[in-house]
Amino acid sequence: MRADALNGQLDVLILATLADEAGHGYVILQRLRQRSSGAFDLAEGTLYPALHRLERDGLLSSSWSVQSGRRRRVYEITRAGRAALSTRRQDWTQFATAVEAVLG
């Protein structure tokens, strides 16, 4: 699947990958790839502007931590982030159901 298909959905996917467990950029990408069975092929760098934006909007929070001798920025979903995730999930389900119904 091309990266365009992700357009506008990257934010909600990031939130979903962080819903159960915090993680840093590389881990988030791995989770995305695993859960989608590698269907999304995006320029990996674009993840970071999205992370920063979500943090500015208060949907994520982040802090430095030291893991295996490296400083890495670990992201965590906030309460507002969870609320946004559940709204977006509902929207998506509605949308997908409607599309499926039409496509048959």
Partner: protein
Amino acid sequence: MSWLDRLARELAARGLTGGDRRRIILELDDHIACEPGVEARLGDPVELAATFADELATSTARRSAYVVFAALVTAAVALIVPQLAPGTASNIFPGFTSGLSLWLFFPALLGMYVAPQVALVAGTLAAWRAVRHRRDLVRPAAELALVRRRAWIALGAGLATVAGIELYVLDFVAVLPAWWLVLTGGLGAVAACALLFAGKELASAGELRSGTTGPAGDVFDDLPIIHYSWLRRHPWALGALGSMLVGLAMTLFMAHAERSVTEGLQRGVFEALAAAVGFVLLGRKIGVPGSPRLAIQSGAGLARIPAERLAGDEDRSRVEQVLREGFGQGRLTLEQLTARLEVAHGARTIGELRQTLKGLPPDER
């Protein structure tokens, strides 16, 4: 040069420095360390830096407009609350000769009566533009510059207001009750701190260079009610009408408050003149096209600049305004306007920009 070095250089070129840049570099350094050879999948560092800068520039410009507006609210409190405090209605205006010096009194008056209007107009326009596009990730650089310019003007006017308040306190320090002086001076000081903080935010927002081209938009875009009206084609009339309305409102208000028509008229005329002067001096800067400065500045400006000089966003938006005026006056067709705007937005040099003005009367460029 490694991928990371190129990213670092691009970020710096776009004004992303200090902590923000360090954090991005550290995160991507970590990303690369997790999987050697991943650089090929990271994407173009130039594009990535552009995305970071454009999004950050947009959100900080928006945020600083809000912060300035909030700071202006504290200044409004410092201006209004002391005048409403119980039992002060009659005795906080002791008459202008009873103060320490007229050199304090008149600047105080200017600060307390003229500056707040400028702050109100510019601050509201800045915040309003930010609110209108609050969901957009990226806005054109020219628009961000307009928002910041409005915010700077509002901030300056806010500081002038606070300065006026403090001068008033100083002027009547021997005449007015101590509690009133402390209250007013204190509120003014709080507002000054808020404004200075807002100034710091605004200054750091200005360092980012967003690369997105596009129109800055003007006050007609901000106020949909007047967008399609007759005023759009006669922008100067907006200033005149606005000034008259302000004057009329003040005349009625003061005539009622002071129970004297002459008193009301005096204040009203003063107010209208002040608004007109503000429009002439600051109109173009806050996005009122066709205000007198536009003709003067853009006219002399572009003609004198060498054709090969690189064009900036301000030049582009100035030309856009002239083109829109040309359309408004019926000189350009809609197709011509659209085509020329497209060229103007993509213009790299002043020469290319000047080309788009071909055929329009020389006094307007």
